[in-house]
């Protein structure tokens, strides 16, 4: 029991399993719609791990893909809260087993004559592409599932990374199903 405040103290709960979820939203392509989604996540205390916005086949509709860490109950809250936004037409979670999820990474590494060939080996092993290099640096591009990107970053951990940039996840369901 709390002894001092107008609000209840956070009551100790057994920790719940938080896992990464991918949420796909179809939204009206209106001014301010990204702010509405981001503001809702912020004020409800939901985290955003990555977020991408893209065009769809319908110019009036955009697709927002959000990845978030949440337990099952929180995930349902996120979906039902986001679904209440007037500008959101559809809000679903994508089953990782039944969807294609891709991310692109650009990473710029410090190299020298000795390192160059080992970096090329790692890049080959992960099917990463060399998109730029100078005598002192090499920039690699890799596209894949988020876990593959994570694994690749681990593989190049011993090198000095000058800069990196990840696009965040973009995703579609398998097969001929269409979100509409």
């Amino acid at each position: 029991m709390t002894s001092d405040i107008f609000e209840a103290d956070a009551i100790a709960e057994a920790p719940r399993l938080q896992t990464r979820h991918t949420i796909s939203l179809l939204v009206n392509n209106h001014f301010g719609v990204l702010t509405r989604v981001a503001s809702l996540f912020a004020r409800k205390g939901f985290n955003i791990d990555s977020l991408t916005v893209s065009a769809t086949t319908n110019s009036a509709i955009s697709r927002i893909t959000v990845t978030t860490f949440a337990d099952e109950q929180n995930l349902q809250q996120i979906i039902s809260q986001v679904d209440k936004l007037v500008e959101v037409r559809k809000a679903v979670t994508l089953d990782p087993e039944n969807s294609i999820q891709r991310e692109l990474l650009l990473v710029k590494l410090v190299i020298d004559d000795n390192l160059r060939s080992t970096v090329v080996d790692v890049a080959d092993a992960y099917k990463a592409e060399i998109v730029d290099f100078t005598t002192e640096s090499m920039t690699l591009e890799i596209v894949g599932k988020p876990v593959k990107i994570d694994a690749f970053l681990e593989a190049i951990d011993s090198y000095t990374i000058l800069e990196m940039c990840r696009t965040g996840v973009t995703a579609l369901e398998h097969g001929d199903s269409v979100l509409e």
Binding site: M1, S3, F6, A8, S39, Q73, Q77, D83
Partner: protein, 583 residues
């Protein structure tokens, strides 16, 4: 017909039946005010002392009538002054359309005079908001705003309109009024453009199987308890609630927002539950084997301890908003839909039942354990004041409160028998809500005199000296429009609720809560052109209140009470009935 944006706004207000508007003029709404001038015979505009008062008035109007309240303000400070009022309506799901002006399109984003990004500021406190820069979008946007405010889970919608969109012209298609107000437009409307929409059933997601299952739960339960909240009132489902509770003879408790949805004297209404609810009702929650939550969102003032709330009960929830399911409390089963429709489906699916032993147990708790305040003839006791108000003002009166101890005393003793007769800021807890809301309610119910020259539906504004000082400026509005709101000020010279917590949890260190203001309430009332009274015992109060009820215009009565009066009983935040303080 070619009209300016401001003219279109006036036409849509009339078409929507929204002919009562509270607001405050300013530079960025000059075209709109010019249109209101042209339509002053149809649209009744009330200017308040402050935009916050206007927002609360529109909210009070909506709470009293169930119709959409409309508030109008200028850009910049006009719109920021609405913020508390809009947030108050949002937390309590009150249908409100807020219209603000903004600077002209060429001045947007340049830190122009009285420019503020109203849409960004109000995004988290509205169901939806709009920024209209093109007059061609205005009519459709306004109609959509009214529809959103008043459908599903109700709430405020804001439309920010640039000054040039108000002044520019475009073609306007009139629609027949949904409410058939007899407005001139109705006759002129082309055939087939009626705005009357069929009943909105899109929020009903429950199935016949859901109903059968919940009926079975109710049949199995030995000690069931209904907990009802403001959703019953929003959904106009008081009759259905009555029918269900009586068919099942099921004891019921309610939140502050549910006050009046079932009569206080109903044999199955066990009264207020939660932090300042009855011990008996809170014990009932502890021992219930089934809780049927109807239009109740498990707020932390009722579901104080989410881990130990109704610990022995299966919890079934009926709500219009799916996102309320499992938000604060994980429930066992949920029926999603308009409460009126869900209950209408559920009532024929249940068999009549009796729960005599369970009801008798709750009544035993009530008679043996409930807190019973002591009366006094010499000093004013809060419960005696509220009892006297309920008795003298009658069951048709509207009681409007501010926020603090007086609000809780009012909730405990107000004896309401009808929905929409107890208006209070439940969710946001907005001190300063009361006066504006009471003015809006008074506009809604009018002020006809009945037998004995008393007002037929008096509006009684119960406030404290802390809350009243926040927005007492609205006294000028009451006087200007001769709105006979009767304000009862519980003056304990302190911020009583905060002081009560300081007494209980901060060893009596009364930091910044001992006001001891020297306001002469009678003089201030007279200064505004109202009538002031002062009472120090219950006989004086009854005399003053009766005189005020028979008076002509607004009045207030200062009630001097002791600074150590507390709201009892009380469950501290995060506690359960086992932690209840009764002395």
């Amino acid at each position: 017909m070619l009209l300016t944006g401001a003219e279109i706004l006036a036409h849509v207000l009339i078409e929507q039946g929204a002919t009562t508007v509270f607001g405050y003029p300013g530079g960025a709404v000059l075209p709109i005010y010019d249109a209101l001038y042209q339509h002053q015979d149809t649209i009744h505009h009330y200017i308040t002392a402050h935009e916050q008062g206007a927002a609360h008035a529109a909210d009070g109007y909506a709470r009293a009538t169930g119709k959409v309240g409309v508030v109008l303000a200028t850009s910049g400070p006009g719109s920021t002054n609405l913020v508390t009022g809009i947030a108050t309506a949002y937390m309590d799901s009150i249908p409100l359309v807020a219209i603000t002006g903004n600077v002209g399109a060429s001045l947007i984003g340049r830190d122009s005079f009285q420019e503020v990004y109203t849409m960004g500021i109000t995004m988290p406190i509205t169901k939806h908001n709009y920024f209209v820069q093109d007059v061609a979008d205005l009519a459709a946007t306004l109609r959509e705003a009214f529809a959103i405010a008043n459908s599903g889970r109700k709430g405020p919608v804001l439309i920010d309109i640039t000054k040039d969109a108000q002044a520019n012209e475009c073609e306007f298609e009139p629609m027949v009024s949904a409410e058939k107000t007899g407005a001139p437009l109705a006759a002129a409307a082309p055939a087939g453009t009626t705005a009357a929409a069929p009943a909105d059933t899109t929020c009903n997601q429950f199935t016949p199987e859901d109903i059968t299952r919940v009926a079975a739960y109710l049949a199995e339960a030995e000690s069931p308890l209904v907990v009802f909240g403001g959703g019953v009132i929003s959904s106009d489902a008081s009759q259905e609630l009555y029918d269900l509770v009586h068919k099942l003879e099921i004891p019921s408790v309610h939140t502050i927002m549910g006050t009046g949805a079932l009569g206080f004297d109903d044999p199955f209404n066990e009264g207020l539950v939660g932090m300042h609810g009855f011990l008996s009702g809170n014990w009932a929650l502890e021992y219930a084997d089934l809780v049927l939550a109807i239009g109740f969102r498990f707020s932390d003032r009722v579901a104080l301890n989410t881990q130990r709330w109704a610990p022995n009960a299966k919890i079934v929830q009926i709500d219009i908003d799916r996102s309320e399911v499992d938000k604060n409390i994980e429930v066992d089963y949920a029926l999603i839909g308009d409460i009126k429709d869900v209950l209408a489906a559920l009532i024929p699916a249940v068999e009549p039942m009796k729960h005599d032993a369970w009801t008798a147990q709750i009544h035993a708790w009530r008679s043996e354990q409930d807190y019973l305040p002591q009366n006094s003839e010499t000093v004013l006791k809060p419960h005696q004041i509220v009892n006297a108000i309920a008795e003298l003002a009658g069951e048709d009166a509207l009681i409007v409160t501010d926020v603090g101890q007086h609000q809780m005393w009012a909730a405990q003793y107000c004896q309401r028998t009808k929905p929409r007769s107890f208006l209070t800021s439940g969710g946001l807890g907005t001190m300063g809500f009361g006066y504006g809301a009471a003015l809006g309610a008074q506009v809604a119910v009018g002020h006809k005199k009945g037998s004995g020259e008393k007002f037929e539906r008096p509006v009684v504004h119960i406030t404290g000296d802390g809350s009243f000082h926040m927005n007492l400026n609205e006294a000028c509005t009451a006087v200007t429009y001769n709105l006979p709101v009767l304000t009862v000020i519980f003056n304990n010279s302190v911020l009583g609720m905060v002081r009560q917590w300081q007494t209980a949890f901060y060893d009596g260190r009364y930091s910044s809560t001992t006001l001891d203001r020297r306001t002469d309430y009678v003089k201030v009332a007279e200064g505004f052109g109202a009538t002031g009274y002062r009472a120090t015992n219950i006989a004086e109060f009854r005399t003053a209140f009766d005189a005020a009820l028979r008076g002509e215009g607004p009045a207030w009565i200062e009630c001097v009470i002791d600074r150590d009066e507390r709201v009892l009983p009380m469950i501290p935040a995060g506690g359960t009935v086992h932690d209840m303080i009764s002395d």
